[in-house]
Symmetry: C2
Subunit: 245 residues, 2 copies
DNA sequence: GAGTGGTCTAGACCACGGT
DNA sequence: CCGTGGTCTAGACCACTCC
């Protein structure tokens, strides 16, 4: 029985082990086989096995204890239910359900120069020319979120309202010559402003979630600062943390 | 010049490189030296260098591009400002400021059995005996958050209100014979309930942040399910994400 | 003391970027 | 094309858990 997954051995091993964990193959001990045994079974070195286990660990399925073994964590409901952040596609990935109608309304689009006040908000240098875009996200006819975005003109050249209406990310990856590498995300709960009441279907709620997303090119340049304000009760974020010692 | 940091080489190298990055040593190219050069400089193998770079990467300081090198990401304000989640101490780590007076009021404490409804909320099996604890967190005389916690009695034996008033985690790590290994965290914004209005100083806000924390022992057993409801405008969470390809 | 995962080495080949 | 980071190997020693 040959398996082929990605070209990488450690990913194939990760996939195989994950399947066996969810099938309950190791339920008697709640421990993975030892790294040595797995190395023999998959015909690889121990380091490659360790990389596969690292992936399981990142996902919160498993936890290694020196001297004992690789412990399988009891599963919970959230393992299936929620999305993980790490999308570079904005809201699309947030509403992972089926049968949703998503519309984007470009509410504002202009070019401006970063001043002191704006610089302190978005970490772009004073004097930088930027495109400013405001987009409202409507899901099943309900205004769920709006984005307030700033793009550096020196990197995202010749942005237009038509491009914004289609997909900025398609434009970046297809027309421009750079790639999106990474992003930093900050998440808060804040009192709604008059702008929030104006743009969102908040019903009786007077607070919003605020997700700040700073995006980098693969040259290490910060080129986008987007703030997503979204309504309560619709979105969740999941992380997994480990104790160091 | 010998440096000594932690016992691990890769952590020492990580610390050294991080300092040099923030000092601006590599500002001319915004690239780290090649892994080969770093291996020679620190007198280690390339794998050890790669582990150090991985730490920088996890922290959002650096991003590797095959064929080009390790790119240093432009720094932003949030690199200094916010905490990273991953505390196992509840709210203490959330208010990282100085001069804050934190009080904990145990508002409810009892022992009960998990029924169907509770089981679907907290992923504990039906019939499990648990301690139920409600604690209100008061920071500078303001009710900022409250915890609703369930602990498995089979693991956290003989919990008492006195222990809860002191520190459950000290009790676990000092008196009981197990360690805390990892936790899964879910974060949402939700409409406030009457309980929220009763317990929190929400002022005019009618929503709360909700942080669900599921905590595991080093045997892989889920033993605690805690929900923290907290007021808007006071807390933030930071993550860092990378594009795979 | 036996066995586990954690760290580390010194090589090798591959895929990709820049020239 | 050369140099880069990405993957992988086959060893070694250490720190820890468990009996």
């Amino acid at each position: 029985m040959k398996m082929r997954m990605a070209g990488n051995k450690f990913e194939a091993i990760y996939t195989a082990l994950k399947a066996e964990i969810t099938e309950g193959v190791f339920n008697d001990t709640m421990l993975l086989p030892t790294e040595k045994l797995l190395a023999e079974r998959f015909g690889t070195s121990r380091n490659t096995i360790r990389r596969a286990i690292q992936l399981l660990n990142d996902e919160g399925l498993v936890y290694s204890v020196k001297g004992r073994g690789v412990v399988i964590l009891e599963s919970t409901r959230i393992d299936q239910k929620f999305f993980r952040i790490g999308n570079f596609q904005g809201l699309k990935a947030m509403s992972s359900a089926k049968n949703v109608k998503i519309q984007t309304r470009v509410q504002d689009f202009q070019e401006l120069t970063v001043d002191e006040a704006l610089s302190s908000l978005i970490s772009f240098p004073v004097g930088e020319r930027v495109y400013y875009v405001r987009r409202v996200r409507v899901v099943n006819d309900r205004a769920m979120a709006y984005d307030t975005s700033y793009f550096k003109k020196s990197i995202v050249r010749n942005l237009s309202e038509n491009i914004v209406k289609a997909s900025i990310y398609d434009y970046i990856e297809q027309t421009l010559d750079f790639k999106i590498a990474a992003s930093k995300v900050v998440l808060e709960v804040i009192s709604a402003t008059s702008k929030d009441f104006e743009l969102l279907d908040l019903s009786t709620n007077n607070c919003v979630g605020k997700l700040v997303n700073m995006v980098y090119t693969d040259m290490g340049r910060l080129f986008e600062h987007t703030t997503v304000n979204y309504i309560p009760n619709e979105y969740a974020l999941v992380t997994f943390e480990q104790k160091k010692n």
